[in-house]
């Protein structure tokens, strides 16, 4: 079960820019004096059987920031972090395997896809970890129900509350800017729940259109009259928007140009991460940021190092993440990125230079608190039509380690009923 090597270790042990910049929350303990007078903005929502009323406070500083990057469509983790030490990998993939001699950051068993080169400096600095053979405890080959299951992360409950909503719901501070989806305006399952969250495509969109000054104040007042008492998700969204639009101002005032000479690749991922960096720089209390990227559903044309979607998208992924941390500079010392996918892909390639739906996958951790290197327990691959990478680490164990170390929260709050196993990819 654990041959050829138990990878629960760090191959490079350079300490990350560790250090507890997480200094607790500096709560400015007053309630909002809104634009319309000293009122407390409230919203009410029913999720499952929980009926909650939330008072929105002024924005607080975020001591730690968690960026969750969802690689949608089920990325092939064995192309990103190649198990070159497992002979079945090469037998099963005569057309699309990544050759051992081009891998980066190689150890005796794993190596990184060469197009992740932009991340090598972080890897060498011990600020990047790859945890392999992770996933849901039992296979779920449906993209859509697997995403739900991964992001709900509470198998016993029928309430639609995502794990990140539970994370920001851990204390009394409620503000829509605390958790934000960037790049897409439809929030993912992980963010849904009783706490209001934010979602925007571009920074400039977070504004109240229709004039400035007096005109804007009037529109504001009029909207408040109409929407103030409206229930349901749209009523909540409307009020959260009106609150967020003011408190988001510091982000809009940040320079649009990335800092420290960072150059993002073209495309949605670069745009979203650039907006995420601005949001963090604006210091408006954004503690959780989610970004979706994909389509990684490479049933066909996953391809080789010379052509195909994997090499192209891996380049974009590596460049975008590297640019993000360059852009953040020292702010990156409080930002942890987790990249994950709903499931992995089959071991054996199909006839279209692609891979069908599998099970186990890799997760990446980058930035604050990360203990660099390869982690996970490997079960030798089998070269059969149905062969999957077996999951040996529940993905929640990895997430639990991140949230319990980076935030003042118990694992049980975020992942109810789950007992995590130690992975070791986060510094304690």
């Amino acid at each position: 079960m654990t041959s050829p090597a138990d990878h629960t270790r760090a191959s490079l042990t350079t300490p990350a820019s560790c250090c507890p910049e997480y200094a607790g929350l500096s709560r400015r303990g007053f309630l909002r004096a809104g634009a319309l007078g000293a009122v407390t903005l409230t919203s009410t929502a029913v999720f499952g059987s929980a009926h909650l009323q939330v008072a929105h406070a002024a924005t607080q500083k975020a001591g730690s920031v968690l960026v969750v990057l969802s690689l949608r469509g089920a990325v092939d983790g064995m192309s990103l972090v190649v198990p070159h030490g497992d002979p079945a990998y090469y037998k099963a993939r005569p057309g699309i395997a990544v050759a051992s001699d081009v891998l980066l950051a190689k150890d005796g068993f794993f190596g990184l896809h060469p197009n992740l080169a932009p991340l090598l400096p972080m890897w060498r600095a011990g600020r990047m970890a790859a945890v392999h053979a992770t996933g849901l405890p039992t296979p779920n080959r449906s993209h859509f129900s697997a995403m739900e299951e991964v992001e709900d992360a509470d198998p016993g409950s029928s309430a639609r509350v995502g794990w990140l909503n539970r994370l920001i719901g851990r204390d009394a501070y409620a503000h829509p800017l605390r958790a934000t989806q960037i790049g897409q305006t439809i929030p993912p399952t992980s963010l849904l729940g009783p706490r209001d969250v934010m979602a925007f495509g571009e920074v400039d969109q977070v504004t109240l259109a229709g004039g400035e000054g007096e005109l804007r104040a009037r529109r504001r007042r009029s909207l408040q009259t109409v929407w103030g008492g409206v229930g349901g998700p749209l009523g909540d969204g409307a009020r959260a928007a009106m609150l967020a639009v003011d408190d988001f101002d510091p982000v809009r005032r940040t320079a649009e140009q990335p800092a420290h000479g960072a150059r993002y690749p073209r495309g949605d991922l670069g745009k979203a991460l650039a907006a995420a960096a601005r949001t963090i720089r604006g210091d408006v209390g954004a503690e959780v940021i989610t970004v979706d990227h994909g389509d990684w559903d490479h049933h066909a044309d996953l391809g080789t190092l010379e052509w195909g979607r994997m090499q192209e998208m891996t380049t974009e992924l590596g460049e975008a993440l590297a640019a993000f941390f360059t852009d953040l500079g020292s702010l990156g010392d409080k930002v942890t990125v987790v990249a994950l996918s709903e499931f992995g892909r089959r071991t054996k390639e199909n006839a279209n230079y692609g891979l069908d739906h599998g099970h186990g996958n890799v997760m990446f951790l980058l930035g604050a608190g990360v203990k660099g290197g390869y982690f996970g327990t490997w079960t030798p691959l089998t070269n059969t039509v149905d062969g999957d990478l077996l999951v040996t680490t529940d993905y929640r164990s990895v997430l639990a380690e991140v949230v319990s170390t980076r935030f003042d929260v118990s694992t049980a709050t975020v992942f109810p009923g789950f007992t995590p196993e130690r992975v070791g990819a986060i510094l304690r």
Binding site: S142, Q184, I186, A199, A209, R221, Q224, G231, P233, A351
Partner: protein, 535 residues
Amino acid sequence: MPASAPSRRTAILGGVAAGAALVPSAALLAGVDPAQAATTYKVRRFAKVKTPNAATRHAVNRFTYGWTPQLQKQIKKAGGFTTWFDAQLAPDSGRKVDDDFFESSSNWWFTINASPTKIWDRSEREIEPWWKADENYQRWALVRRIHSERQVQEVVAEFFEHHLHVPTSGENSAIFRADYGKLIRSHALGKFTDLLHAAITHPAMGVHLDNAVSTKRGVNENLGRELLELFTVGAGNFTEQDVKNSAAILTGYSVDVWGTWRVSYEPDDHVTGPVKVLGFSDPNRAKDGRDVTRRYLHYLARHPRTAETIARKLAIRFVSDHPSQALVARLAKVYLAHDTAIAPVVKALSTHAEFKRAKGMKVRTGPDDIVATCRALDVKVRKPAGDLAGANQLLWQAGSLGELPLSWPRPDGMPDTAVAWSSTSRFLNSLEMHIALAGGWWPKKAMRYRSARSWVPIGKAGKRKRKTSIRFDQLVDHLSRSLLGRGSTPRLLQAACEAVECRPAERITHTHHLVKWNMPHLLGVFLDSPDHMTR
């Protein structure tokens, strides 16, 4: 300076139909200073525009892209909602419904009616890249929704385009996408057996979900799986062995994606030998698998679990985000009793008590909002000439709302629930779109917007017979009827007073500052309201 401070803490609850109960504590929200509560907001009727009763307004807003005064006249001419609706459900038989806009607008973009090879050829000659065919289709979809005479067919066609989703995001399928959309529309009010077969064997779907390259030498499971999971019986109702057999049955439908775009059936690619999926089994001996494919797809279309899938999804689109099991079961029964015919299910849904109770309970999606806004404002989109034309630019307006039409990046189709369409930025972006269209600010070219004056129902100064001014509260009632299809409410009146600083009794003439400068902001009050953003 009018005393238009917010007032009336005794919120008039009836005015807001937003798909949920009012939050009692929210009275705090209005920021009311009781001392200033001087102005009272009492509705004054001005019923020049005929409005439907609540039940008809509800049904119209669910089965069309938005009520308009013109639609009101059509319904009256047809003899009432039921006869109008029945004709719309069978637009090609009996009382035929015109399809002129569909036909004429299909010529607005070359790629809509062009063959794949023509689209490719033009791309090779650098006239228009082939992937622009997807953008053009999105544009056509938008203008059809705004102007088509066959509103019900368009609404149901869009539903099935999401159900049998082939994203319009510039993938290889772009070259076949317009034809695919037309095919879905042609079957949208027919039988699901035919629709499913047409969609699954179409090259757009084949290219999108890789069936076009799936052969017996290497079976690709993508379409075989989604066919079971998304399009028919649903997750949890099949095994991995079923997926393999499903994919095997579908082999043979080939597309040359390397430039010729030749579509063919290749018997040499078809997997032969016994297959079994759920209760369907077949010796599958023939090299030509088209017959077994047809029988397999018809079997799936008639499966009780498929009936539930379609019934639930229709109920979510047309009734509420959380339809009852009883409603789903009822609709599934109708579906099976009519051998998968879709129109009877839509009809049954429209007369169900749960439908009648669901007024205002759906949040309009982003694309629905922009279309409904154009309809409410009586915007006319004209044949485009050049990139700046409204018919082309409207697409970017839709994109700013979060989703280009039919571009949802996953095979499960765009979500249609309040939770998906209530985010902060959706709300803010809608507000921006509303005012841009209300002001006629963008897009401008080849668009006809109504003038500010035309919204004020008075005569020109100096002309006799018609009054030359109107009270503001009456104007608000008139606009509410024109834009929303219902009379004003005290809350809307108050919001209108606040937005443009007018008193209820103020007399509005064509030279009033409101008409000269602030009409977009007044129109925005109605478009920004729950009455417009929900349906």
